[in-house]
Symmetry: C2
């Protein structure tokens, strides 16, 4: 029964394509859906096939969308003079949810990692260059993750924009709000110390 | 974009019907499928709808199956004089994978819990009684979980079988193999101590 001869076994096996789902969680998910939420399972099946077939990339920012242009690029009220470069669609979601940012995005869908065969072409950096040339944004905000690859990507992005005379900024890194110094890792603390700013009482 | 206006937002929302999947994991799953495993996503969608529509309960043991009888009940080589009563289909999977048990099962799909409205009828205990009367197994093995409700269920099951003169056994509870006494909870240790058995050197 745990094998793939049965439909239940095949369902458990198929659920394992989800990241972080091992044999035990897959069993639990399959039984939960079958015993308590068949409607949810059918709904998930329908949305899943729809999404896998119809979601592509926005022609302008490369974000995932089922339309030609994503909702942000299609919105005429977004400020095209601000361009925020992120690694992944989840970063767009996170920034949209947390901030009042009203500009546009460019989604790399990855980061420079030559050893894994991910170079400028894979990240669509030629498209980004075209966009920088055509739209000439006032400011490019680099919001790649503060990892080694993310930093290398940021360095590369900075060169692209600087050579065109575009202001480049990078989101601030340091101790998170609510974080306690004693639990912060050493490199973050060292960075936060080095990047200290004049105290503003406003 | 995190809302349900977009197909991506709807996919993230739909994935949350899976147990243990919160907003962040759902995002990660959706993006993983879209960026790296569309084929797996389509396969999951197909198996999911198939399973939700076709899987029902075995007429004999109440286990989940897409056939009238599950693979175990349909197998003429399984010993019908042994009947193991478990709470859930996962318990059948676990026993089949770990042991060489060759008998049959009865799956309660729950445990007695009057406060939640789960009584003997919800667990199909009338069907179990009919089966005990018709097939008159030699031994009934109770393998409900050692929780309060599982124990109450075991007590009830024991009465059903004893009144018909059927031998009743219960799987052993105690310190797990490889477990260390100092890390075992007190009630398990007390139970293991109370249920000690004569040392056999075979």
């Amino acid at each position: 029964m745990g094998d793939t001869d049965t439909l239940l076994g095949r369902l458990i096996e198929a659920l394992r394509c989800l990241p972080g789902v091992g044999p035990k969680s897959a069993q639990r998910m399959a039984l939960h859906l079958l015993e308590r939420d068949r409607e949810g399972g059918l709904e998930l099946s329908a949305v899943l096939s729809d999404a896998m077939e119809r979601i592509g990339r926005c022609v302008e920012c490369r974000d995932l969308t089922e339309h030609e242009r994503c909702a942000i690029c299609a919105n005429p009220r977004r400020d095209r003079s601000l361009l925020c470069v992120v690694e992944s669609p989840v970063d767009v979601l996170a920034i949209e949810q947390a901030t009042a940012y009203g500009g546009t995005y460019f989604v790399l869908l990855g980061r420079l990692s030559p050893l894994d065969g991910i170079g400028p072409a894979e990240l669509g950096l030629d498209e980004l260059e075209k966009r920088l040339d055509e739209q000439a944004p006032r400011e490019m905000i680099i919001a790649t993750n503060p990892t080694v690859e993310g930093e290398a990507t940021a360095f590369y992005l900075n060169r692209l924009a600087e050579s065109r005379g575009i202001t480049v900024s990078r989101i601030a890194h340091g101790v998170p709000l609510g974080g306690e110094l004693e639990y912060i890792d050493q490199s973050t603390l060292a960075h936060a110390f080095g990047s200290r700013q004049a105290f503003s009482s406003g």
